[in-house]
């Protein structure tokens, strides 16, 4: 990070804009693309098998919604994850690409098949009509297989970031072992967990839209809701089993961060809150599914909507925890969240990060009494801005509130301690640490004067 140009994301901070894009992408890729393709191809097949043209037409209506979501939002936010990563943490995404290029390239080829068959499935549904229904179904099947294959590859990369295994054959020069990085310990369990979660999630989405599209046909609603309900109920136990296997692969240090990840440090004293929220959402989903299954005609729209909200909450919380427990690393055991490799630390601690900070103006690379605060600001931007904004989300001003310069200096020296094990260490010379402390202390002063003025 330290030698790339600097872009600060005010107020929201980098983490939040990344999370918005990533969670939106997961909701659509799992719900609409991977799960959606499987569930809707199955439903189309079921409609053909039971010779039910009404169910066939309903499937198209749901596909219409999923098509718009998958192509307009899902595909672009997928590229967006990469675009966001490249402005937030260029060394991290750059490293991943060097290790996973050919897998990504393969995924791109599969993605071509996926998109072409999605376009074919959707655009020919109406023109083929009921007569050529089996032909149209074939497009759907190829789309479903292809979209699942893209998940196969992407979960390898996601798994790698948390459980890279022995992927470095040699540290100097860094020589990756491509096979070990692909077959990292959490790849298969996370893939299976996501697959069955996605199918259940997509079936729940279909239940929701079925409610919407069958307001005038309760017989159709009954049949469709029971069908989708069966799919959700079948996936839940399988998802839980693979979830436990996945959990078992996660490093112990990461597991110990789970409650901080789910709750933020502010509420860490109330672990029960997380458990209640997660179990509550899960229970609500079960109640809704059973209600749909047993009395499809009686389920109120509010319950269907609450079920969707609960699913979105579970997905968002899962992704948040998965991203967070990797801390302090971005690639476990190799590169810290601020983009500095663990190999770099010793050298940068002795000569300083400013020496190599290409895009910090020359006059701020030597620390003097006069420019100390300004240099500290640059150091904040280099090492802290990936996670902290100044005054907005996860504001640094809140973290240093009430501390004097000396206290801040001490705190910076022990970031990666058992008290805050998710923080990467501050990297740089003692002089640089003092400059950062001096800058952060001015933020405390500014805050104090502001409150004084407001009063």
């Amino acid at each position: 990070m330290f030698d790339y140009p600097i872009f600060e994301m005010p107020v929201l901070g980098h983490r939040l804009i990344f999370a918005i894009d990533a969670i939106l992408h997961v909701l659509i890729s799992h719900g609409a693309a991977v799960g959606g393709s499987i569930v809707l191809a199955l439903t189309q097949w079921y409609a053909i098998k039971t010779n039910d043209q009404k169910l066939y037409d309903l499937t198209y209506k749901i596909l219409f919604v999923l098509f718009i979501a998958a192509t307009a939002i899902g595909a672009l936010t997928g590229i967006g994850i990469w675009i966001h990563a490249n402005i937030i943490d260029p060394p991290a995404i750059g490293s991943l690409l060097r290790v996973f290029f050919w897998k990504w390239f393969t995924e791109w080829i599969v993605f071509n098949v996926e998109l072409i068959f999605l376009l074919a499935w959707f655009l020919t549904w109406k023109t083929y009509g009921w007569e050529k229904r089996t032909q149209n179904l074939k497009f759907g099947i190829v789309y479903a297989v292809a979209s699942w294959l893209t998940m196969v590859i992407i979960t390898a990369i996601l798994g790698f970031m948390l459980t890279p295994g022995n992927w470095l054959k040699s540290d100097f020069p860094a020589q990756p072992d491509y096979i070990a990085s692909l077959f990292n310990p959490s790849w298969i369990p996370s893939l299976m967990f996501r697959t069955f979660f996605a199918i259940g999630f997509a079936a729940a989405i279909s239940m929701y839209w079925t409610w919407w599209f069958t307001r005038n046909d309760l017989t159709l609603r009954e049949k469709a809701e029971r069908w989708f309900g069966r799919i959700v109920l079948a996936t839940i136990p399988i998802t839980i089993i693979f979830g436990l296997w996945y959990y078992a692969q996660i490093p112990q240090e990461a597991k110990s961060l789970m409650f901080v990840a789910g709750l933020t440090t502010k509420y860490i004293g109330h672990k029960e809150m997380l458990i209640i929220a997660l179990l509550g959402a899960f229970a609500l989903i079960l109640v809704a599914i059973f209600a749909f299954y047993l009395k499809p005609k009686a389920v109120p729209f509010a319950l269907a909507s609450l079920m969707m909200v609960s699913y979105v909450f579970l997905v968002a919380e899962f992704e948040r925890i998965r991203e967070f427990v990797r801390k302090p690393y971005i690639i476990y055991g190799y590169m810290y969240a601020h983009g500095i490799r663990k190999f770099d630390v010793a050298h940068l601690n002795s000569v300083g990060v400013l020496k190599y900070a290409s895009f910090v103006p020359q006059q701020y690379r030597t620390i003097t009494e006069e420019n100390k605060v300004k240099v500290g600001e640059y150091l904040f931007k280099l090492e802290c801005r990936v996670c902290h904004s100044v005054n907005g989300v996860n504001a640094i001003t809140k973290k240093v509130k009430g501390l004097d310069e000396n206290a801040i200096y001490h705190r910076i020296g022990a970031l990666n301690s058992p008290a805050t094990p998710f923080m990467p260490p501050f990297v740089g010379t003692d002089e640089e640490r003092k400059a950062l402390a001096a800058y952060l202390a001015t933020l405390v002063e500014q805050k104090q004067t502001q409150t004084a003025v407001n009063k």
């Binding site: 790339y4 140009p5 600097i6 872009f7 994301m9 718009i68 192509t71 307009a72 939002i73 595909a75 672009l76 590229i79 967006g80 990469w82 675009i83 966001h84 490249n86 402005i87 260029p90 060394p91 995404i93 750059g94 490293s95 690409l97 060097r98 290790v99 050919w102 990504w104 791109w108 993605f111 071509n112 998109l115 020069p173 020589q175 990756p176 491509y178 901080v260 860490i268 004293g269 190999f343 770099d344 630390v345 050298h347 020496k355 190599y356 290409s358 895009f359 973290k399 501390l403 000396n406 206290a407 001490h410 705190r411 020296g413 022990a414 970031l415 301690s417 058992p418 008290a419 805050t420």
Partner: protein, 454 residues
């Protein structure tokens, strides 16, 4: 790093310290990268050209149809929404491959430019999402809004304008990453997009997009005609196609020439020295051929399919030659910068390796000499991370241990508080997290040590 000895590239980051993914076969795989880059980019750009051109022309024809009350123009406008849907999807998809290859071959350059061009760089995602959704609204509301043309045309126009707003972001980022000689610590989007090299390239691109879409409309019209479908609409497509191909293409002969001379001199010299100018000559000759064919057939609605395909073939030759020219300019501009970056990366990594190995041989944490003077309690608080927030005598983040001692807790109570802090005991302080990582026996020793502090 800043390199005052190199006046051309004073600001360059380091390369990613991992090898290119060639499996050690650089000589075979690197040329494959180059070919993949040129080919996938060409496919991408042809789809994007059709997307931009067709989304604008659908709106224009919709409007003409409304003004003239002519169903045929309305038909043309509706026909053009299908290539928009297909090319927005395929264009985005085929943009991924060049992005992938550029990111792996020219990592530090491309990522630096993306960061400098932010937050505008994010527009290519979020602006695109909105444009997609509005273009779908335009397409799928066609029959519902048949009697509300003003509203419908406005929706289409918003989508088209949004699509047209994306190339300036792309173009400035692309131009920025291949010209690292122009980088400064303060470079940002608005400086870049107003540079002459970017403006000329952008004009060249927009003209090219409408020309390629003109050719597409011509072929679409010829195809419809050969099938005997929508004959009047096919005639409109053929007429408009020829005009939209010819006018921008002739203009582009001039704009293209001017664009070329906007590049930095060292790049142009390097370009000639590698012989890439041959591809410019091929491009110009074949495009002149395409212009000649369509000028001859300009007033003929029944243009022979053979002539149309020949013109399209010649345009394709031009596009391929331009794609190679474009890549040649990128190579010419980046070659000296890559050489400098590799040199500084090697120096950096050598220094890192030396210090890393030295640090590994040193004892971790407190030095032996220091440790000799510490009491066991002090060693334990350092080991368990308590010193991150507490000092013996002074307030840091949390209270000083001496202040804790003054509260007169029993050792058992302190052990409890280590595992389950009560922030209400210390109003005004940052709440302490539960330190469940501290082993029980060590917690007891720490507690005892605190109670004994004076």
């Amino acid at each position: 790093m800043n390199n005052p000895n190199n006046p051309i590239f004073p600001y360059l980051p380091h390369d990613i310290p991992l090898p290119l993914p060639t499996g050690g076969m650089d000589a075979i795989i690197v040329p494959v990268f180059h070919i993949l880059l040129v080919v996938s980019f060409l496919v991408h750009i042809i789809f994007i050209n059709v997307l931009l051109g067709s989304s604008v022309l659908s709106v224009i024809n919709n409007w003409i149809g409304h003004l003239k009350n002519d169903k045929n123009y309305d038909k043309v406008a509706y026909l053009l929404t299908t290539p928009v849907t297909i090319s927005e999807n395929m264009g985005a998809l085929w943009g991924v491959a060049p992005l992938l290859i550029v990111s792996v071959m020219y990592t530090a350059f491309f990522y630096s430019a993306s960061v400098m061009n932010s937050p505008q760089w994010l527009h290519i995602i979020w602006g695109n999402v909105v444009a997609f959704l509005i273009s779908y609204l335009y397409k799928f509301s066609w029959h519902k809004l048949e009697n509300h043309k003003a509203l419908h045309i406005t929706i289409g126009a918003i989508a088209a304008i949004l699509f047209l707003s994306l190339p300036p972001v792309f173009m400035s980022t692309v131009q920025l990453y291949i010209t690292p000689s122009t980088w400064t610590p303060n470079t940002h989007f608005w400086d870049v997009v107003s540079r002459p090299d970017v403006l000329f390239r952008l004009a060249h691109f927009y003209l090219g997009a409408f020309a390629v879409n003109g050719m597409f409309m011509l072929l679409y019209g010829v195809y419809k005609k050969s099938k005997g479908q929508d004959l009047e609409a096919a005639n409109i497509l053929i007429r408009q196609g020829k005009a939209w191909f010819l006018v921008p293409t002739v203009l582009n002969l001039f704009v293209g020439t001017l664009t070329f001379f906007q590049f930095p001199n060292y790049g142009i010299e390097n370009f000639y020295s590698k012989g890439f100018e041959v591809f410019i000559i091929i491009a110009v000759i074949s495009i002149l051929g395409a212009i000649a064919i369509l000028l001859k057939e300009f007033f003929n609605d029944n243009i022979s399919p053979k002539h149309a395909y020949l013109a399209a073939g010649l345009l394709l030759v031009t596009l391929i030659s331009m794609g190679i020219t474009r890549h040649g300019m990128r190579i010419s501009l980046l070659e000296p910068a890559i050489a400098q970056m590799q040199k500084q990366t090697q120096e950096y990594l050598a220094a890192v390796e030396k210090d890393y190995k030295e640090a590994k041989t040193k004892p971790v944490g407190i030095s032996v000499a220091e440790a000799a003077n510490l009491s066991e309690g002090e060693k334990l608080i350092a080991k368990n991370g308590c010193t991150a927030c507490h000092a013996v005598d002074t307030k840091i983040v949390g209270p000083a241990f001496k202040d804790v001692a003054k509260k007169g807790y029993t050792p058992d109570r302190i052990v409890k508080l280590i595992y389950q802090p009560e922030p209400s005991n210390w109003p005004g302080y940052t709440p302490m997290p539960p330190m469940t990582n501290v082993p029980k026996d060590e917690a007891e020793k720490i507690a005892k040590w605190i109670t004994e502090l004076k």
